[in-house]
């Protein structure tokens, strides 16, 4: 009897899930219910699309024949409206019912629109989906010398600012926070980025609750973050905090129901903290983990750490972990590199334009590698495997095995 897999959502977690299922089960039927009428694409790419650095073809996360090759039925533009745990069916807005043996909820998130004085008087844009980007693209092209006001100096807001910069006559970013990118940068790093963005023509009004009547603008973008899309799960009675709670197998509290991606929260095996880590790599890995487990395999993922790679006007920011502990800072050749070290462990880092072999640091954080014998200045200097992996290097790093999941 072949399994019926149903996936709600059609983004990165879903892709991971499909590939996870197919690694184990070649035959079961997979139905993907996607509210957005698009081939799967990487959400972070919409700013590149808006900026013209990619296009509707290249933005596709997987090749055109992806669903076909993986034998998926893709319900494009169909929204799921209810999960019936008892009968194991998903109901769709067009009245369809889709039975499942195993279900993945990968509903992602939706833009958070905060209370903003005067917001009711204006048309505004959000910047999360491909359609958002297309709408904004149309608008900016229609509006000559547009003055753009962006609410939110986080990742989405600033990517939006960068994308629109060349079309707009003026871009102003407003945020209640006192610095840019507060979710990924400390004050020092934020200052570097703020200056760089200012030098590229982005103005900032920080530490300010926006009153729209105080600004002159033609286009308004609300980029104040996202909140997990948990409505379906909550209504079905799953345990939901800020996100849908999943365990290290990506299983929810309901039998045969899994969840992955931005709509979830979980306990990190690295930091011990329960919460959401809504970044793309996690979405894929959770999705894949769910897929493997749904198909009867065994997979675990809990090595979550916050990490981010993002760039603005040619300046690259790579960050990971938490900013806790003693810092070591290296500034050279216009770059900035800061490590956070505590109890002989690397806790986090912020790299700006000085990121050579950054992944080695990421692995040190994730694997909680004991660095107590290593001089922290040397660590902050040029990293190498030779420097940090003294024992087992030959067998584990350079020979036949891969690092992931192995304490070195």
């Amino acid at each position: 009897m072949s399994m019926k897999y149903v996936i709600i959502g059609n983004s990165i977690a879903s892709t991971g899930c499909i590939e996870g299922i197919r690694a184990t089960d070649k035959d079961g039927s997979i139905t993907v219910i996607g509210a957005e009428p698009h081939h799967v694409y990487g959400r972070p790419l919409i700013s590149y699309l808006l900026e013209g650095k990619t296009d509707l073809e290249r933005i596709k996360y997987r090749p055109d024949d992806f669903y076909e090759v993986n034998k998926c039925e893709f319900l494009s533009g169909v929204r799921a409206v209810k999960i019936d745990l008892k009968d194991k069916v998903v109901e769709t807005e067009n009245g369809g019912t889709i039975p499942y043996d195993k279900l993945l909820i990968a509903t992602g998130s939706r833009p958070f629109v905060p209370r903003i004085t005067g917001l009711e008087k204006y048309e505004y844009h959000t910047f999360m989906t491909l359609d958002d980007a297309l709408r904004l693209d149309k608008k900016i092209r229609e509006t000559a010398n547009a003055k753009v006001l962006i609410i939110g100096a986080g990742l989405i807001g600033l990517k939006c600012a960068e994308a629109l910069r060349k079309y707009a006559s003026k871009i102003t970013v407003v945020d209640m926070a006192d610095r840019v990118l507060p979710s990924i940068l400390d004050a020092e790093g934020a200052e570097i980025i703020k200056k760089h963005l200012e030098a590229n023509g982005v103005d900032f009004v920080l530490s300010t609750a926006a009153n729209l009547d105080d600004f002159k603008f033609d286009i308004l973008c609300v980029c104040a973050g996202v909140i997990p899309e948990t409505g379906l799960a909550k209504a079905a009675g799953l345990e939901v905090g800020r996100g849908i709670f999943i365990d290290d197998r990506a299983a929810t509290t309901a039998i045969d129901v899994y969840a992955a991606g931005d709509c979830t929260e979980s306990v990190s095996g690295v930091t011990g903290a329960r919460g959401a880590t809504p970044i793309l790599p996690n979405a894929y890995i959770q999705g894949e983990t769910a897929g493997i487990n749904m198909a009867g395999g065994r997979a675990v993922c809990d090595k979550y750490i916050p990490m981010n790679a993002i760039g603005f006007f040619g300046k690259h920011i790579l960050t990971a972990g938490v900013y806790d502990g003693e810092t070591v800072t290296v500034k050279r050749d216009g770059g900035f590199k800061k490590l956070f070290i505590k109890d002989g462990l690397l806790k986090g880092y912020i790299f700006i334009d000085d990121f050579k072999r950054a992944g080695i640091y990421t692995a040190l954080i994730r694997d909680k590698t004991d660095l107590s014998g290593i001089d922290s200045d040397a660590l902050a200097d040029d990293i190498s495997l030779a420097r940090v992996y003294k024992k087992n290097r030959r067998d584990e790093i350079l020979k036949k095995t891969d690092l992931r999941g192995q304490g070195v």
């Binding site: 760039g311 050579k356 072999r357 950054a358 030959r394 690092l403």
Partner: protein
């Protein structure tokens, strides 16, 4: 599928591998034109930490974290080789952040580059393996 392995006891840190790699991936027929007076982007790095030295390049992991973290779907794996489609890569560097070997770097066009076992280049054997003077880099 063959993989590149290093035998660190034989690495001489001569760094020839870095140069022949840069040459192999330069698209230039002439090694002098490819490497003279220009920054080079080798996909293999010789680590030299005093007594220990060895070359590191992409391990083509069974469980590639670069591939899973790629935001644009530019990284794929087929026949044991992890490759980056530079046409799709937007240069966000999430893969640089993810690779536990530090084997991914930024290429001349701003996109991510890494060892692809010379499969796109002439000859079957990766250049670093062919030109290692002491068989410190092997492909098996």
């Amino acid at each position: 599928m063959k993989k590149i392995y290093v035998q660190e006891e034989w690495c001489l840190k001569c760094r020839l591998c870095e140069y022949v790699c840069a040459y192999a991936n330069s698209g230039c027929e002439n090694i002098v034109f490819a490497l003279k007076n220009r920054p080079i982007s080798p996909r293999i790095t010789v680590e030299d930490d005093g007594k220990i030295c060895f070359a590191v390049s992409c391990r083509h992991c069974d469980d590639p974290s670069c591939l899973k973290g790629c935001i644009s779907g530019a990284i794929s794996k087929a026949d044991g080789v992890v490759r980056i489609d530079k046409n799709k890569c937007v240069g966000c560097l999430t893969c640089v952040l993810s690779c536990p070997y530090g084997a991914i770097s930024v290429g001349p066009e701003g996109t991510a580059t890494k060892c692809e076992l010379c499969i796109g280049n002439a000859g079957g054997t990766p250049m670093c393996v062919r030109f290692c003077p002491n068989r410190a880099i092997i492909c098996e």
